[in-house]
């Protein structure tokens, strides 16, 4: 990983940390996406917690503290945890979330007990094991980063090679199985991805908060893209950003890396969930507001049109009474119509202006077209699956179809 480390405009130690965090971020972002899409994010959480006793046992057995040995222990424990969850789910009537809860708490308790016992022992070598709880990026050395790079290359290569079968299994396991794909093995592979991601991230992010590294990139990236082939690289990029920012910030501030990464990740998720175009909360709230306003204005216009046929122009109070709208709401609607010059006030009575009456007639015509579609649309036998815009049947289906709808309607009312 030498060349990559040299690329950073940072000191050597920081460059090593940044490279490690980059690899971790990409791998956790990409592999975590599979868990998020399967609705199995918490399996990642359980596996991260399950890895802790593995680290302790590996240390107790070998007495060595080199990362490869400890992470091998973590991987073994993670695999045992994964099989336990799958086993409980398949062979008992316990629900998956309960199985996850049991495995997570049992393994983590075991890990804490072992960690405490090791700390109480007289092994001078033990200092630093507790870093696996909350993670510490600052301690990374080039050998760690090399190991991470090998695991990253292997797992990402596998994702690339299995992209189509994985996509099919994720989207529609039943269909995938019917084409002869080994669905169970592929699902197991996706759980295996989580073990790999946990092993890569355990030392840097820690067992307790590793799940954030798996989940946040996918959640943030999903706000912006609508294809799996775009989601995976974007989640990797988000993961890399979160990982590198969090790791560098934490090693400067000398606080554990896990919490810092979680806070950075949370910020990214918050911003993307709020602000993303199309799917963001702000975007959707704006659209809802516009829809409601439009419905109100259309409704008031329609009420005025109906009232103007029934007698003298109504006052605001009469209109509110007739339409059943609260007066304040009605006033808002009338205000908009005023602004457009569609209605004028003649001694307390609301009168439609000429453009207002024209707009009302157009609205009535459009509503009639829509109800004609609902009632007679199936008779049109449209050649394709287009569906009309309720507000503009003529514009969305074409004049020919709209004319035929009008004819069906006339025929039915005759």
């Amino acid at each position: 990983m030498g060349p990559l480390i040299d690329l950073w405009p940072l000191s050597y130690t920081d460059s090593v940390v940044a490279t490690g965090a980059l690899l971790l971020g990409v791998v956790a972002g990409v592999l975590g996406t599979f868990a998020v899409l399967r609705g199995r994010s918490l399996v990642g959480d359980a596996l991260a917690h399950a890895a802790l006793p593995g680290v302790c046992v590996a240390f107790l057995v070998t007495g060595a503290k080199d990362p490869a040995t400890l992470l091998a222990g973590a991987a073994c424990a993670g695999i045992v945890g994964a099989f336990m969850m799958v086993g409980i789910e398949r062979s008992t009537r316990i629900k998956p979330d309960a199985a996850i809860g049991v495995v997570l708490s049992v393994f983590f308790s075991l890990g804490i007990v072992l960690l405490t016992a090791i700390a109480a022992g007289d092994n001078a070598n033990q200092a630093g094991l507790e870093r696996y709880l909350f993670g510490q990026a600052a301690g990374l050395v080039e050998a760690d980063v090399n190991l991470m790079a090998i695991l990253a290359a292997g797992s990402l290569g596998l994702v690339l090679a299995l992209f189509r079968p994985l996509k099919m299994t994720l989207f529609d396991a039943g269909y995938a199985g019917a084409t002869g794909l080994p669905v169970r093995a592929l699902e197991l592979a996706m759980t295996g991805f989580l073990v790999v991601a946990v092993v890569i991230g355990l030392r840097t992010v820690g067992a307790i908060l590793m799940v954030a590294m798996l989940v946040t990139p996918a959640v943030a990236a999903r706000q912006f893209v609508a294809r799996l082939a775009h989601l995976l690289p974007l989640a990797g990029a988000v993961g890399a950003f979160v990982g590198v920012t969090g790791a560098l910030a934490s090693s400067r501030a000398e606080v554990p890396t896990g919490p810092v990464i979680v806070l950075v990740g949370f910020t990214v998720v918050l911003l993307s969930v709020l602000l993303a175009p199309g799917r963001g909360v702000a975007w959707r709230a704006g659209r809802l507001r516009r829809e409601r306003r439009r419905a109100l204005v259309d409704g008031v216009l329609l009420d005025l049109e109906i009232a103007s046929h029934g007698g003298p122009p109504p006052t605001r109070e009469e209109l509110a009474l007739a339409s059943g709208r609260p007066e304040r709401t009605l006033r808002r609607g009338v205000g908009v119509l005023h602004g457009r010059g569609w209605v004028k006030d003649e001694g307390g009575h609301l009168v439609l202006t000429a453009p207002g009456a024209a707009a009302a007639h157009e609205l009535v015509a459009r509503r009639e077209e829509w109800s004609a579609w609902l009632e007679h649309g199936w008779k049109l036998r449209l050649p394709d699956a287009r569906e009309p815009d309720p507000r503009d049947v003529r514009g969305s289906l074409g004049a020919e179809a709209a004319d035929r709808l009008a004819a069906f309607r006339a025929e039915a009312t005759a």
Binding site: L37, G39, A161, L162, R164, P165, K167, M168, L170, F171, D172, G174, Y175, G177, A178, T179, G180, R222, V225, A226, R227, L228, H230, L231, G377, W378, R381, L382, P383, D384, A385, R386, E387
Partner: protein, 256 residues
């Protein structure tokens, strides 16, 4: 039967969840080149029967043959259309990609999708009237459009046998008519179609062959001989008392 080999043949199939049999000693034959319906009350095992044929649920006993070959080795001859609610419609995938999945089994899992495959995908989209939607995210589609996408994916496999699970459940009338006509066209091209279905009205007017199922086989044969009051009473059991008239029975099935 003019066709010597059945498109799908099921022999003494038994499948159970826990200890309760969902399918019990089911024998069924679906003729090639016909449109067949699997009809029966809720909980009759209709969907399970399809899944069992495809090896998607474990079976206790029985054999399934497709075109005279054991089903396991003939999966390339079948296109399956699962129930629509089996998938997450917010999944990040476009309409075109879903249909392209139908080509993967023959393209292979690694090789590039060829021009010829793209042409087939476009053609299948055209056939179900979804060409204009190829680049849409699937979550933006209506129920009827989603069903069309699923059928296009199955068509893209170009398999001679189509197995469809409740394709018309929750679909608007316009889509149902369009799809039934499409299936009729496929049958006329010589494909065999087996549909789990719940609407006795359209079974009579569109299908050639029916299997009446309620855990065991109640009756099977040409629609005119199978979907008759006496057999329906046997299938639908207590809900259809002996004095129920044909019309009421039909209403009963409609209401499902």
């Amino acid at each position: 039967m003019n066709h010597p080999i059945a498109a799908l043949e099921i022999k003494r199939l038994t499948a159970s969840y826990s200890s309760k049999p969902v399918l019990w000693d089911v024998d069924a034959t679906f003729p090639a080149g016909r449109m067949s319906a699997i009809v029966g009350p809720n909980g009759a095992g209709k969907s399970t029967l399809l899944k069992a044929c495809l090896g998607l649920v474990p079976v206790d006993a029985g054999q399934v043959t497709i075109d005279g070959r054991p089903a396991k080795s003939a999966l390339d001859r079948v296109a399956y259309v699962p129930q629509r609610d089996a998938v997450d419609w917010d999944f990040p995938i476009t309409v075109g990609e879903v249909v392209e999945m139908g080509r993967y089994p023959s393209v292979g899992w690694l090789r590039r999708v060829r021009k010829e495959d793209r042409r087939i995908v476009a053609e299948c989209l055209e056939r179900v009237g979804m060409s204009a939607f190829a680049h849409r995210q699937i979550g933006q589609l209506s129920g009827g459009q989603r069903q069309r996408v699923f059928i296009a994916r199955a068509l893209a496999q170009q398999a001679p046998l189509l197995l469809m699970d409740e394709p018309f459940a929750g679909v608007d009338a316009r889509t149902e008519v369009a799809l039934l006509e499409l299936l009729g066209g496929l049958r006329d091209e010589g494909r065999s179609i087996v549909v789990v279905h719940h609407d006795l009205g359209t079974v009579r007017s569109f299908f050639d062959w029916a299997l009446l199922l309620n855990v065991r086989t109640i009756a099977q044969g040409p629609v005119g001989e199978t979907i008759v009051a006496e057999q329906l009473r046997r299938a639908y059991g207590a809900t259809a008392a002996a004095e129920t008239s044909d019309d009421e029975l039909e209403e009963l099935a409609w209401a499902r």
